[in-house]
């Protein structure tokens, strides 16, 4: 399904302008986005560790795919794909519309506050889901009307299901897009999304005992207003992330009101065109997705206490806490309507002589309303290299003479501001760089308020660290299966001393070895359950291919009597 040349080029140009320096060789490390040269597959990534499966299946998928591409290059492909893929998708949705409509829709989709804010926050699986959403709408519509399974849908649904929230959004889009009177098609769609989401679903069920979240997070992570724009109106412009640190400065100015007027006026103008140019059933899918995304976001803002109750008592309920994350569902309809509205404005007969200028202005407007998103969010996203000490530590743990057991990351806090990363915040990257399962704090501190974590192993390790002397701490850590302790020397916090052999001591990292540790074995039942879950996940593209081959064989079968 090719995209026309001008749409493709405009989308690519916007992608390059948005990402800028983050596409240089090296690793972009920002908040939750951690990429390393070679991510090793380990039990935690497969969902059988002690922590909730927050990075299942994304980490496991990366650890397999980075055997084909170096980690830094894979990250560039993911970043550019997650920015450009969605733009191409909306251009395909509007393939019968004028060029200006497609170009404006691309701008609205790719230069959106949602994308810019989630990019800095490092939510790359969410952005991949955002990128595949228009394609899912397009392909499910084709599946329903042509009664043939589109081969590309299988891989796209997998890409859109690399995290729990994204998987839910993609599954919802598939089910709404396919949903109809054909039971067989509905069942197949259901099996498709269950398979794509099986790893985190099954792992989540296995962790149900520790699957509830700190209710205080519901209020902290709720949909928020930007600048002087109230939260509900901010949501209409695809903004509203909870974290003020990642909101572009332009969104704190009156430009948010101009953005609101831009999407409301052009969106309203585009409604009639949408009814004319988009198939009615596809338009219904887009409207349902938009309404669901907006309602869920508004729910987190209007009734955070109800979200808190669910997060506190229902395993997995914490997925609802980040209210604005599901605003991704609103983006395809919004981009289409605004694009079609722009097309209608430029088609006005009265504009005959000024049409090129008006069209050019409208195409550029999404960028000009949020200019500081350009060039890696104004330099906030930049590629860096890890210090050599990380590779030295990894080599130590890979050698046969190295200590056994899992890794403990100290200080026991989640986030770092490494000097070698320009003091940009990032989830401690040490654990992912090293080749073993690791224990790290899963507490989150937001506006100086601490949200409790869920991993019982972190609690046990924290207790071990509170023992009276370094020898006792080491013994208790070994009992917890910890054989390696890394200390981030770049972090200002004091670290309790642990008695162990110093294996590496550099300005960035100190690595201690503790003798006699054995990592905990996951229960046999967990391994069986997760093997089934991963088999279902892997079967999604294969089953899709098999289904297509079956259809092909049926069409080739000679009809009796002919």
């Amino acid at each position: 399904m090719p995209v026309d040349r001008w749409s493709g080029l405009w989308s690519l140009a916007l992608g390059l302008l948005l990402l800028g320096p983050s596409l240089a060789p090296g690793y972009v490390l920002s908040y939750d986005m951690v990429w390393v040269p070679d991510l090793s597959l380990r039990p935690d990534f497969l969902g059988v560790g002690s922590a909730l499966p927050r990075a299942v299946p994304s980490d496991a998928v990366v650890s397999v795919v980075d055997e084909l591409l170096p980690g830094w290059l894979l990250q560039k492909v993911v970043l550019l794909g997650s920015v450009v893929g969605g733009g191409w998708g909306v251009a395909r949705l509007l393939r019968s519309a004028p060029l200006v409509a497609r170009l404006v829709a691309i701008g609205v989709y790719q230069w959106s506050p949602f994308l810019a804010e989630r990019l800095v926050l490092g939510h790359w699986p969410v952005l991949l889901g955002y990128a595949v959403l228009p394609w899912v709408v397009l392909l499910t519509d084709r599946w329903r009307t042509e009664r043939r399974f589109p081969l590309a849908l299988g891989p796209l649904v997998l890409i859109g299901s690399l995290s729990a929230t994204t998987g839910i959004a993609t599954a919802f889009a598939v089910l709404i897009g396919v949903g109809g009177r054909r039971t067989r098609c509905n069942v197949q769609a259901l099996l498709l999304v269950i398979g794509a989401n099986a790893p985190w679903l099954v792992s989540g069920l296995l962790h149900a005992a520790s699957g509830t979240s700190d209710p205080a997070g519901a209020r902290l992570f709720a949909l928020a207003g930007e600048g002087t724009l109230p939260a509900p109106l901010t949501a209409l412009t695809l903004g509203g992330v909870w974290n003020a640190e990642v909101v572009p400065a332009s969104r704190d100015s009156f430009l948010v009101w101009v953005s609101l007027a831009f999407v409301l006026v052009l969106g309203a103008l585009g409604m009639r065109e949408a009814r004319r140019r988009l198939p009615a059933r596809m338009l219904l899918t887009l409207v349902v997705l938009w309404a669901a995304g907006l309602l869920l976001a508004l729910w987190s803002w209007a009734l955070p206490d109800t979200v808190a109750v669910i997060a506190e008592h229902v395993p997995g309920g914490g997925l609802l806490r980040d209210g604005s994350r599901l605003l991704a569902l609103c983006a395809p309809l919004l981009a289409c309507l605004v694009g079609l509205g722009a097309g209608r404005v430029t088609a006005t007969a009265a504009l005959a002589e000024a049409r090129p200028m008006v069209a050019g202005g409208l195409v550029l407007l999404p960028v000009l309303l949020m200019p500081d998103a350009a060039w890696g969010a104004g330099g906030r996203l930049a590629a860096v290299d890890y210090p050599d000490s990380y590779a030295q530590a990894r080599a130590l743990l890979q050698s046969e003479a190295g200590p056994t057991g899992d890794v403990l990351l100290l200080p026991l806090s989640s986030y770092r501001r490494p000097s070698w990363n320009g003091e940009r915040k990032v989830l401690d990257p040490t654990g992912r760089y090293l080749p073993r399962d690791f224990v790290t704090s899963d507490e989150l501190v937001v506006s100086r308020r601490t949200l409790a974590g869920e991993d019982p192993r972190v609690v046990a390790v924290a207790e071990a660290l509170s023992a009276e002397n370094p020898e006792q701490r080491a013994d208790l850590l070994v009992e917890q299966g910890i054989g390696v302790v890394t200390v981030d020397n770049d972090h200002p916090a004091q670290v309790p001393e642990v008695a162990g052999e110093v294996l590496l001591d550099t300005p960035e990292l100190t690595v201690l070895g503790l003798a006699g540790a054995e990592p905990p074995e996951p229960p046999g039942g967990w391994i069986t359950a997760m093997t089934l879950a991963w088999s279902m996940f892997a079967l999604v593209p294969l089953a899709a291919l098999g289904r297509r081959l079956l259809e092909w064989a049926r069409r080739r079968r000679p009809v009796p009597g002919e």
Partner: protein
């Protein structure tokens, strides 16, 4: 000047003005706004995940 020419001129001025104003304000805003956070200090060693809007 014809009616359509006048309408085109007005539309051009409006769109051009909006684009120009948006560019200038956006650029000035992005260059002059205060930093979103203070640097870490040793008295507050825990690093926040973020700041609530």
């Amino acid at each position: 000047m014809t009616t359509s020419g006048i309408a085109a001129l007005i539309a051009t001025i409006l769109v051009g003005g909006a684009v120009g104003a948006a560019s200038v304000v956006g650029l000035v805003n992005s260059q002059t706004s205060a930093p979103g956070e203070s640097p870490a200090n040793v008295e507050q060693p825990v690093i926040d995940y973020g700041t609530q809007s």
